[in-house]
Amino acid sequence: MTLLSFNIPVVVLLPFVGAIAAAWVSRYSRLASAWAATIITLLAMAFLAPAAGLPFQGETLIQSWSWIPGIGLTFSFRLDGLALLFALLILAIGLLVIGYARYYLSPKDCMGRFFAYLLMFMGSMLGVVLSENLIQLVVFWELTSLTSFLLISYWRHRQDARLGARMALAITGAGGLALLAGVMLLGHVVGSYNLTDVLAAGDRVRASELYLPVLVLILIGVFTKSAQFPFHFWLPHAMAAPTPVSAYLHSATMVKAGIFLLARFFPVLSGTPEWSWIVSSAGLITLVIGAYIALFQHDLKGLLAYSTISHLGLITLLFGFGTQLAAVAAIFHIINHATFKASLFMVAGIIDHETGTRDMRRINGLFSYMPHTAVLAMIAAAAMAGVPLLNGFLSKEMFFQQTITASQVSGWAWAIPALVLIAAIFSVAYSLRFIHDVFFNGKPVDLPKTPHEPPRFMKIPVDLLVIICLAVGIIPMFTVAPVLHVAVAGTLQASPPEYSLAIWHGINLPLIMSILALAGGALVYTARKRLFAWHDASVARWDARIVFNAILGSLDRFAVGVTRVFDKGSLQNAAVWVIVTALTAGFIGWMGISAPLLGARELLPVDGVSLAVLAVMMAASLMTAVLHRRRLVSLLMLGVVGLVVSLVFVKFSAPDLALTQLSVEVVTVVLLLLALYFLPQSTPRERDKVRIGRDIAISVLAGAGVAVLTMGVLTRELTPISDYFLLNAVPGGGGTNVVNVILVDFRGTDTLGEIVVLALAGLGIYAMLRGMKLPAPDRDSQGRLWSSDNHPEIMRTHTRLLFPLMLMIAVYIFLRGHNLPGGGFIAGLIAAVALIVQYLANGIAWTSKRLRFDMHWVIGLGLLAATATGLVAMGLGYPFLTSTFTYLDWPVVGKFEVASAIAFDLGVFLVVVGATVLSLVELGKLSDSSHKAEQQKRRTEVR
């Protein structure tokens, strides 16, 4: 394995690892993290170096590993000319910025955090430009958004930093998501997410019906990142970042990521009218607007930010032309803009650092204070203006040439060079302002600090960048030419067209435009005072940020509105939604299939008694609802419903169910009675007629729905699995009561689950009520005081007599359960009723003293017994809850059948008793303690 088989991911991932290192070493020394960052960057360069020669030999290096093969996501990297150019820019300017930042940051700023963020950003950027897989590219793309959020909000105590960072994240994050969608659609069209395949499939993509969505989505990503109109407004607000960040992110790297993508997809997406229209109009508008606004910025960094926007527009416009020569000019300008703009940002940082302000109305005449810096600034600004012998001039000439070429396309296209000339004039004017306003133009006004030259080493990065500006501008063939050539080849994925980097092409239209721009710019600058006044009075009030904030604000209000309207925090509202949805679902389900509602089975004859009983049940149900404000009556009505249901069970020969229903009914009503005591004495009357009507309608529909569903089932013939239970209850389960055998054997796990539910109810009630004190009413609803005669003597005596009898019945019901109606559940309820009656008749104190079981133990033992039968079976090599039974001969009684399931049933019995009594006693205690407190209070009041 050679270095060339894995070095590119190392280059990309090294800064991320280095970020941790840089943060870590900062605890030992402030400068250590700067050194760590420097070393990491140099190391990354060293790892890139062995591969750097390949693109010059016309080779494309691809290193790939499998990642998520299912969707064609590979972990893969690509080094061609374009990627190499960007990687070099990122690393080289990164290195300079690190050196610069080491002097820029004040002792208050945390170095470790800064350099960690910066390195993470560097890694993300490298990932964007070096990715072969498009999904992976989007991953790094979004990482640049995240890391730039961290960098912009570095001074987190400043509100403008926080807001600027959030705005940048919102805009670039949105673009990233659009890009993701675009890339996924593109991958769908091509059938691969690998750039190699995508770049080779340009014709197919352009012919695809998905071309327009792909193009628009990817361009949203590009325009947001590269601050193109109408998404340009985040960039000036990102200037709240420390200046090294602006120099790095907002001149050379992050904002160029969008441009990079334009170049990357140039062979795939360009060459169509859609591309030309969208890309060039966005570029042209951005170019003009940026150049215009830049002139009126009083903030040094604001001027540079808008100038950056304008230059990015220029590059976008070039790509929009869609010709190969335009692409050459675009790539060339990317290089040039990165060098002069990074140096200008650094100068702005030096001035800010040394004067304490960035306001150009106060910073004047700095030439005498810092001549070295001033010279650097002037050269860089001249390059920005496009002055001959500097790099900016060369690429601007090429640009002008391209606009002239483009103007011959159609009748209206002459507007392009015209508008470009206007932008160029403003560009010259703001460059002049940067030079003249700052370094000349009288004396400084009321500066917080007395300016002087910065430390020697803070200027070195600027020196180097300015030297590059000069070198490229004077001897392009010996400096930039090879890199430009290979980058263009990488962009076009073909050999570059013929172009000339000469400084002098003779007197031609581009040169005339250059001269016009320089002269016009000087003219505009002289007239600036009047222009400022006019601008401040009219255009200045327009700020895209206001629109952005308005959109976000109304989105926020909309979100709050929708959420609060739908989620009212009302239980009734939630319940209505569930019931209405259920009704709708049932209806839609049935409607979707054309099948009759009712089956063909004949109905049974109806007798008078049944009808009467059912009439009672319906009346009682109705009364329960109608009388809900008189709670006691309503509760009794509910009891009636339950009793009638158990009669229905009897009628249809289900004695087990009838018994269960009966005992459950008794226990439930007692529990509810205890709970009623704590509810408010009166229920507020519903007054909203519409709502009452709505609720009645829903209830009627719900009832009708259930009736229809039941009728539909009951009128059809059924061949269920229950025959098996009838056949196997005796031979397989050892019991003649099939219901009981189902409960404890065939479907024992259900029963186990249900007794856990019961246990949970008991424990839950215990947990909820323990230590709780509720305000108890001292009078009933008619205003009468509670009787102080708690435990009537007759009831007390009789219940004590009845107690052993009731327990005997419970035991009897329990024992016969496997063969005759009965079983652990019913027996448990009967025993529970026996105990509850004691509590009711004799009071909690008296009964608790005599019944010393901890009901928790009863529940625990019950669960233990039920589970143990299952575990024993497991121990014997059978599945959980496998039962067995045998016949014993008892004296007197005779042949007696013993099933292992009886142990299970005992568990059921114990849990039912334990949980029921625990809940009741806890409720009773609560009422007891609250009641006593109330009586206490009354007594003190009387005294």
């Binding site: 509100q159 994240l169 976000l552 979100a559 959420t563 299939i593 509602l597 625990g860």
Partner: protein, 512 residues
């Protein structure tokens, strides 16, 4: 006879009643028993995954009665995965509860916790529709008890909403099961699937109605629009470890849709094959819209995370609704991520809440947290994970789902809503992080200050968050597993065959 399939269900049950019996022994013993049981559950879950890898169904006949007459537990790759997620989440949340002493705030915390796990694992492993109902009841009661743990007015109120809505759901479940039993004559899921193919045509309408009714029931559990109203309040107001464990509760609903509907109304169901899918997809998209708006409208961090959980549920519903092996595989991948990350976020919210003292987790300026750098970094990590930003697993889960949507006719809707919701949550979480960690006040007088960071408890948060990078780095084996689990889920014929042909162990009582 291997009992491996049964142990994840019955271990928590046994632990549960042992803890009842150990009540007098004090919290120390309870903690040891409870933690070791959950650690054992993690080991069992791993074993279950290993056993499920070759692709066989582990069918366990409870009571030694063959299907469809007895109740069966069925372990396949998907159910093993669900049990594993539950176990890992439960261990972290329990650790947090113990380390932060939340378990002492009321009685029976550990009992309720174990029985909750009994209900969860039972719901994931059962092959019987009525048994699923029983486990839903266990879940409901246990979660209600846990929800109220610690007490308080808001908690009791949220608990009431929770329990009432879910009881309505239980009632509907009974209607649906009753109807299906009345028409198909069986309760076993595999048997139902087998019988639906031969069901008389005139009863298909009612079967379809019952199926959608069942979808409503699972929708209540999963928190699907418009059935989720119980959810934000319940999650936002309960104690942190409980909220964290509840991250799996909504997934029970999702899993039930995949398992029950996917099997009964699967590819073999003739006219009813996948007839419910447009509803899952459509309501998933609506839920996601409402969830994203809810995230934006939330008034405190815990409510916000509850809505983020809702958004993740909605994403899962979309994944299910897209229907197909790649979509299902993506859903399972996203499910692992979203469950564990949501759990971690609830725990983290508690750390932040305690650190801010009287300011709790409201979105207003407060003094800086103790250990703000650590907490803030972890918050940023969590926010990236839960909003689905790269490079963490949420992003890849979303990409997997989007990729599966490419072939669906609703692709434009899925892309638009999924990405727009992502954007809203990203914007909102940036705002949240900024207001909690950046916009701070000067340090307060000491009584108002928050608690220092509980490092032991914090380990649970870190541990859960670490799953996210692992899911990214090991994406290849993980997606390979989820893909094979999805294939197995879609092969309802094999499931039916495996369940209905599972033989009983020779039973001596039948021999007599």
């Amino acid at each position: 006879m291997s009992h491996l399939t049964a142990w994840p269900v019955f271990l928590p049950l046994i632990t549960g009643f042992l803890l009842i019996l150990l009540r007098g022994k004090g919290i120390y013993y309870q903690r040891i028993v409870s933690l070791s049981a959950v650690a054992g559950l993690v080991a069992l879950a791993v074993a279950l995954i290993v056993v499920s890898l070759p692709g066989q169904y582990q069918v366990y006949l409870l009571g030694n009665w063959t299907a469809p007459f007895g109740i069966v537990l069925v372990a396949d790759r998907a159910s093993a995965l669900m049990v594993s997620i539950t176990a890992v989440l439960a261990l972290a949340a329990l650790w947090y509860a113990v380390a932060s002493n939340t378990d002492e705030k009321g009685p029976h915390f550990h009992v309720l916790y174990q029985l909750q796990l009994f209900g969860l694992n039972g719901a994931f492993l059962t092959g019987d529709l009525f048994n699923l109902f029983v486990f839903f009841e266990v879940l409901l009661l246990a979660s209600y008890g846990l929800l109220l743990h610690g007490g308080g007015r808001l908690r009791t109120r949220a608990g009431l909403h929770y329990v009432v809505i879910n009881l309505i759901g239980s009632t509907l479940f009974l209607f649906a099961v009753g109807t299906l039993y009345g028409l198909l004559g069986t309760l076993n899921i595999a048997d139902m699937a087998a019988r639906i193919a031969t069901a008389p045509g005139d009863s298909l309408g009612l079967i379809a109605a019952a199926g959608l009714l069942l979808l409503v029931v699972f929708g209540v559990k999963a928190a699907m629009f418009p059935l989720y109203l119980w959810m934000p309040g319940a999650y936002a107001n309960t104690s942190a470890p409980v909220a964290a464990l509840f991250a799996i509760m909504t997934k029970v609903g999702i899993y039930a849709i995949i398992r029950v509907h996917g099997t009964i109304f699967g590819s073999e169901a003739g006219e009813l094959a996948y007839y419910y899918m447009p509803w899952v997809l459509g309501l998933g998209l609506v839920t996601l819209t409402f969830a994203a708006l809810g995230v934006m409208a939330a008034r405190n961090l815990r409510e916000q995370i509850a809505y983020l959980v809702l958004a993740s549920v909605a994403t899962l519903l979309i994944g299910v609704g897209l229907n197909g092996s790649s979509a299902l595989s993506a859903t399972l991948y996203y499910l692992i991520h979203s469950t564990l990350i949501a759990g971690a976020m609830f725990l983290l919210a508690d750390v932040i809440l305690k650190g801010r003292g009287a300011f709790e987790d409201r979105f207003e300026s407060a003094p800086q947290l103790p250990n703000a750098v650590v907490t803030g970094s972890v918050f940023m990590f969590g926010a990236i994970a839960i909003t689905g930003m790269p490079p963490l697993s949420g992003f890849f889960g979303k990409v997997l789902i989007l990729n599966a949507a490419l072939h669906h006719e609703w692709v434009a809707w899925v892309f638009t809503i999924l990405l727009a919701a992502s954007l809203l949550t990203i914007i909102t979480m940036a705002r949240t992080g900024s207001s909690i960690f950046y916009r701070t006040l000067p340090p307060p007088p000491s009584p108002a200050a928050g608690e220092p960071l509980n490092r032991n408890a914090f380990m649970a948060v870190i541990g859960l968050f670490l799953v996210s990078p692992v899911l990214v780095i090991c994406a290849q084996p993980v997606t390979a597993f989820t893909a094979s689990a999805a294939e197995q889920l879609l092969d309802s014929t094999a499931y039916i065959e495996a369940v209905l042909s599972a033989p009983a162990v020779n039973n001596p009582s039948i021999e007599e």
